[in-house]
């Protein structure tokens, strides 16, 4: 349980800081995981264009991996990857996890192009109180 109580959070369920989605990991819903093969990838960026979750990571003008903390496993990237290339394959999450021992994200370079994600800041009852306005 979080140590904060009902008095310590901003009123009305307000989120009083922008960009907090960065700190909110939503990849756990996935049943299938895209596994990307850098050897096959031709960097056409079709997957990057189509991914509805901005989960395709890019560094120095090249695909750098998949952010599995946010990827929902929809398979669109694998579908859009040119059929002659097939650099992304969808595998069952349970099988992928068994293979990588649950590390997943580290191997695919999850944090590659994120800004400073500070998940502590996201939960900022204090910031609201400082403004003197949004405490309960």
């Amino acid at each position: 349980m979080d140590e904060k109580g009902w008095r310590d959070v901003p009123i009305a369920g307000l989120i009083i800081e922008p960009g907090t989605a960065r700190g909110y990991k939503t990849g756990e819903w996935r049943t299938h995981r895209p596994v990307w093969d850098p050897e096959k990838c031709i960097n056409c960026f079709l997957c990057w264009i189509y991914c509805p979750d901005s989960a395709i990571q890019v560094k120095d003008g090249k695909v750098a991996g998949i952010d599995l903390e946010h990827c929902k496993g929809c398979g669109i990237c694998a579908h859009e990857c040119p059929s002659k290339v097939r650099a992304i394959n969808m595998v069952l999450e349970s099988e992928a996890e068994a293979e990588d021992g649950g590390k997943g994200n580290e191997e695919t370079g999850g944090e590659a192009n994120r800004g400073e994600a500070d998940s502590d800041k996201a939960d900022c009852g204090k910031a609201g109180c400082e403004r003197g306005s949004v405490k309960w």
Partner: protein, 419 residues
């Protein structure tokens, strides 16, 4: 002027930033008159015409979340159509003020007065203030702005008045000067604003099992200081206008043996009956509840504690076989103090902030049930059925018999219905 005219005048003087409203009988006049004020440039209000009351409340919520002082007004079916948004206004802690002209709910279709519409929303988190006449409706709208916007509160408030009886009845009403009203309500500083680009916020985000409960707990806590704020604002308003207001009006209750509890215009009728009965030597009184939500149960029980027999007149039914809503609330309040320290331990439940109950009274624990007044309920006046002096006199006569014998008989009765 009529109650509707008085309320429209109050809205003109409040000069809200945004009014989004839809016409419905018997409220129509309020927004119609107000729209002429907009057209004539007498207010700086952005008037949003909408296609339904659901949209009216939605637009009002949007405006309030953007930092505007926002108002709307409605009645009956329109009020019912706002339902979904009512809870959102309260949950988002937006101090919207909404005059509601009380009217029956369908079916069968009926445009006349009863309290079924707002009573259904008594647990929506809105503050509910009832008005006996046009003067009170006017005064209450102005005070509601201050009450809702109080930083201790931040809750939406509805100001209720009886459809046609008050909304269309002609009375003399004393208005404050425009600058007096503006001085009284002050400028508006929203607690938060979507348009405050220096402090970007998200309003209405998903709030699942992790924090939703805490936010609802905050909302419950916000209701606690309301009574104190209502009293404070009512006193201050009295200094300005000569008309002070509290949580309720205890009319000739000090030494009363029998009393009627009522909301809205019926309280005025009951006061006239009490004056007659007093001349005949009957110790009768009236409790007119003004602040209905949050319910000042402890204060009401205290003011009724010396009375032997009480009849609660409810202008709506709960269809629960338990009687009317006001009756149920008062009965529940008589059982035990709600915010007794022994029941509500601060360390467990949080402080009862701004509680109006003094500690000595609370320390007594459970009430002495042997001293409780006998209490009965009458459902009356549904769909605009008249209630007159004679009917209320009969209620007092029964109360006198109850006070003598201690026998209540049937607990819930229907007054003025064809048997």
């Amino acid at each position: 002027m009529t109650g509707n005219e008085a309320v429209a005048e109050a809205m003109r003087q409040v000069n809200p930033d945004v009014v989004a409203a839809y016409p419905i009988t018997p409220q129509t006049e309020i927004v119609q008159i107000f729209s002429t004020f907009v057209a004539d440039g007498l207010v700086k209000t952005e008037f949003v015409t909408v296609e339904s009351e659901h949209s009216a409340m939605s637009a009002t919520i949007g405006a309030a979340a953007a930092g505007a002082r926002a108002m709307t007004a409605t009645s009956s079916q329109g009020f019912a159509l706002m339902w979904e948004m009512l809870y959102i206004a309260a949950g988002l802690r937006l101090p919207i003020v909404m005059p509601v002209v009380n009217r029956a709910l369908s079916a069968p279709i009926n445009i006349h007065c009863d309290h079924s519409d707002t009573m259904g929303a008594r647990d929506s988190g809105w503050i509910q203030i009832f008005s006996e006449n046009a003067q009170e409706a006017y005064d209450n709208v102005i005070q509601a702005v201050r009450i809702a916007e109080s930083r201790d509160v931040l809750l939406p408030a509805m100001v209720c008045m009886d459809g046609f009886i008050v909304s269309h009845g002609m009375e003399s009403v004393k208005l404050l000067k425009d600058e007096e009203v503006r001085g009284f309500i002050g400028g508006y500083e929203p607690a938060y604003s979507l348009l405050d680009v220096d402090h970007p916020i998200t309003v209405g985000a998903l709030d699942f099992a992790d924090w939703y409960f805490e936010h609802k707990r905050q909302e419950a806590a916000a209701e606690v200081p309301v009574a104190e704020v209502v009293r404070r604002v009512g006193e201050e308003y009295g200094k300005l206008s000569g008309r002070s207001y509290g949580l309720f009006e205890a009319y000739r209750l000090d030494d009363a043996e029998v009393a009627v509890v009522a909301l809205g215009s019926t309280a005025g009728t009951a006061k006239a009956v009490v004056d007659e009965l007093r001349r005949e030597g009957v110790r009768a009184g009236v409790l007119k509840i003004r602040l209905y939500r949050p319910f000042p149960g402890d204060e009401i029980v205290r003011v009724l504690s010396g009375v032997k027999a009480i009849a609660v007149l409810d202008r709506s039914d709960t269809f629960s076989t338990m009687g009317g809503p006001v009756f149920i609330d008062i009965k529940a309040s008589m059982y035990a103090p709600i915010y007794d320290d022994s029941v509500y331990d601060d360390s467990v439940h949080g402080p009862v902030r701004g509680s109006t109950h003094d500690r000595d009274a609370r320390d007594t624990g459970a009430r002495d049930t042997t001293q409780r007044p006998v209490i009965v309920n009458y459902i009356y006046g549904l769909g605009g059925r008249d209630i007159d002096l004679e009917q209320i006199r009969k209620v007092y006569e029964r109360l006198q018999a109850i006070a003598t014998t201690g026998e209540a008989g049937q607990c819930v009765s229907y007054l003025g219905v064809r048997e």
